[in-house]
């Protein structure tokens, strides 16, 4: 695997505060697990950058290796790997995700 994609991932998670590596796009997720994370972020009104791994095989393999995580979706906040669908759903339900956004200074809407 080329190191180029790993550099690109490093740049992207540095440039964007909230990044979701997913299947499909935020508007048209192509997988239920990706859709679930998009839904959580949408409910919280969090702005995020989505990268579609289905249109980029090198990114699909690269992000798995970069994160040491075998599945998609994967959420990064301020350069830090937070988790996949199960973890994000659990953290949303317990309020930990909202706490993380607050701690990292990321705007979100908790009225939902």
């Amino acid at each position: 695997m080329s190191e180029e994609v790993l550099d690109r991932i490093r740049r992207d998670i540095d440039e964007h505060a909230v990044v979701l590596y997913m299947k499909g796009t935020p508007i048209f997720p192509q997988c239920g697990f990706s859709a679930a994370v998009v839904q959580v972020l949408g409910r919280l009104g969090v702005k995020f950058k989505g990268f579609d791994v289905l249109t980029d095989p090198s990114l699909r393999e690269g992000i798995k290796r970069f994160s040491d995580w075998p599945t998609i979706p994967q959420l990064y906040v301020k350069g830090e790997f937070i988790g996949g669908c199960d973890i994000i759903r659990e953290m949303y339900q317990t309020g930990e995700l909202q706490g993380l956004f607050a701690e990292k200074g990321i705007a979100y809407n908790d009225a939902a």
Binding site: K23, C31, W69, P70, D86, E90
Partner: protein
């Protein structure tokens, strides 16, 4: 949504679920271990296009070893234990990984 036939090869289906169960039982000595083959529910989706693969499992583990570990660490542990199954067609795991009392 069931868009295809349910898993027809029961014996084969038993094998991956049993392997998963055995692997986790040995490595984690769990108090609770539930392994549900969810593949049929994902038939026709990515990862299980033909609808007969062993591709999607829901796993719930309560184990003392998870105490004090972050979610990411727990998930990584289980993913690593099941890495060989990802090579055999496993596509997605839904994991609920808890320490006793959580």
């Amino acid at each position: 949504m069931e868009t295809g036939p349910p898993t027809t090869d029961k014996e084969y289906s038993m094998r991956m679920a049993d392997r998963i169960r055995e692997t986790l039982q040995e490595a984690l000595a769990p108090i609770v271990l539930e392994v549900v083959d969810d593949s049929a529910r994902h038939a026709g989706h990515a990862g299980n296009p033909g609808g007969v693969g062993e591709t999607h499992f829901q796993i719930r583990v309560v184990a003392a070893g998870f105490a004090g570990q972050s979610r990411v660490v727990r998930h990584r542990r289980v993913n690593q234990l099941l890495a060989a199954e990802f090579g055999r067609g496993l596509h997605a795991l839904q994991l609920t990984l808890l320490a006793p009392g959580e």
